[in-house]
């Protein structure tokens, strides 16, 4: 019998950061190959160009100033809208969610307003706002709902024993939020953050697509409108790249803020 020096992994062992990144790249590679195969096998390259055609064009775009200007504008619009939504969603969410009668009073109105598509109201909005502002509003409204509902659901997941503890040590309403409900809701907000980062980007682009607001969306629109499909797909590819970068940032933020959370600590701590 050998006295084992080090037992081998016998429960699922989460990957380290390097392995994780390699896996991510592997995933992208697989998707790329899949896409290439499908486009070649099924579609005409004129309609849906294969990656081998898109990638060089994308590389070209990366050297063009107008791409970076457009990306900058889109990111700015997305960021402003997202920040507004985050602040408003959190404030309203905590206000409404931690006062039971307020929640009951507001929920019917919220349910009513939630499905109103801002896109339908653009002709009305254009009376008072310019296109960039409307795009910010579009982003902000959509993200607001997401943040709001995640906060409301997060608040319902707060353990009553923790709340009771906070009450017995007589934390005020604000103290209770800061020390107890906010951290408890944070995991739900982490999910919200990853959702809204992509929603914000997608809607900032949609603003360009349907209203001609300057930025990536407008570039995509005009490529499309000019029959420049390779260019359009190259832009979409790069947009996705921006999305991946933002998601990585969001995941990093989540890992730091939620290091104490079960989900994170299972991944990080257990070695």
């Amino acid at each position: 019998m050998t006295t084992g020096s080090r037992t081998s992994a016998h429960t699922r062992r989460p990957a380290g950061p390097t392995v994780r990144r390699v896996l991510g790249i592997l995933g992208l590679l697989l998707a790329a190959i899949g896409y290439e195969a499908v486009t070649r096998a099924v579609f005409s390259p004129l309609h849906v160009p294969p990656l081998t055609a898109i990638a060089p064009r994308a590389a070209e775009l990366l050297t063009e100033a107008r791409f970076w200007t457009a990306t900058g504008r889109t990111l700015l619009v997305a960021a402003v809208g997202l920040l507004i939504a985050l602040v408003a969603g959190i404030v309203v969410g905590f206000a409404v969610g931690s006062v039971p009668w307020l929640l009951r009073a507001a929920s019917s109105t919220l349910d009513f307003l939630r499905p109103v598509p801002s896109i339908v109201l653009i002709p009305v909005l254009v009376l008072v706002l310019d296109v960039a502002q409307i795009t910010v509003l579009l982003v902000a409204v959509s993200c607001f709902w997401i943040v709001l509902f995640q906060v409301l659901y997060g608040l319902r997941d707060v353990d009553q024993v923790a709340v009771d503890t906070a009450r017995t040590i007589r934390l005020g309403r604000l103290g209770r939020i800061v020390h107890v409900t906010w951290p408890s809701v944070l995991p739900y907000l982490g999910t919200a953050l990853r959702l809204i980062v992509s929603v914000a980007l997608a809607l900032a682009i949609t603003g360009g697509l349907v209203m001609g607001a300057a930025g990536l969306g407008e570039l995509i629109w005009s490529s499309q409108e000019s029959g420049e499909f390779t260019g359009m797909y190259a832009l979409v590819l790069l947009t996705g790249g921006v999305g991946i970068a933002l998601d990585m940032a969001a995941r990093l933020a989540e890992r730091r803020l939620l290091h104490w959370h079960v989900a994170t600590r299972r991944e990080v701590a257990a070695r």
Binding site: V161, D164, T165, R167, T168, R170, H179, P183
Partner: protein, 266 residues
Amino acid sequence: MSTDDALLRIVDLGKSYRARERTVDALAQVDLTVDDGEFVAVVGPSGCGKTTLLKIIAGLLPATTGDVYLAGRRVTEPPADLGVVFQEYGRSLFAWKTVRQNVELPLRSQGVGRAERRELVAEALDAVGLGQAADAYPWQLSGGMQQRVAISRAIAYRPRLLLMDEPFSAVDAQTRGDLEDLLARLWHRYAMTVLFVTHDIDEAVYLGQRVVVLGASPAGVIAEFPIDLPAERDQLGTRSSARFGELRAQVYAQVRRTPHLEEVAP
């Protein structure tokens, strides 16, 4: 309210939990008075309503009938200067705060200054043997250690009324003895009023000035035993004294009389 010595008056308290599947009358006609500075130990069969009683006293749960008065005021929300050690000690710790931060929190909300706070926390953690673990997070601790964090949080605070729900259930015998003595010392020194739920009858007799026995569900107070042991108690001496044995036997006999597991045969 009369202005006698009573800190806590529980009058005709009743509590029913109603749900679709089952309705439970947890408490019925509980009457209890606790003097200011008194140490009352509460024992009773599992599921009789001890936790329920404590939560109502703490103002965390509305009673179905009856009232609780603390210092003459009806309790409708958690009163000031209250310390609670919950039976679910694990869930009462904040996973996002370190042990130190957990213990510090009530002090912060009381506005205790930084330096004093640090000292109080260090003292309270040392007292429960967790000086080394101050920077750990609760989920990095063993069950017993978590429970000690909860105790430490409650005592760092030096509350006027301390409610403890089986606070030593997860620690070993030796530590338990040490913590009992710690609690007794603190109670003496800071003139706290303590309501202490335990399953250990020895412990109840060892610590309490009075032992209150709750009956089976719906629980009411079925017996009270004043404990006339000398104020200064110590683990070896007190526990081996004849009077301790007598009292212990009395309480035990009373507890035995209440119905428990109806049939214990697989």
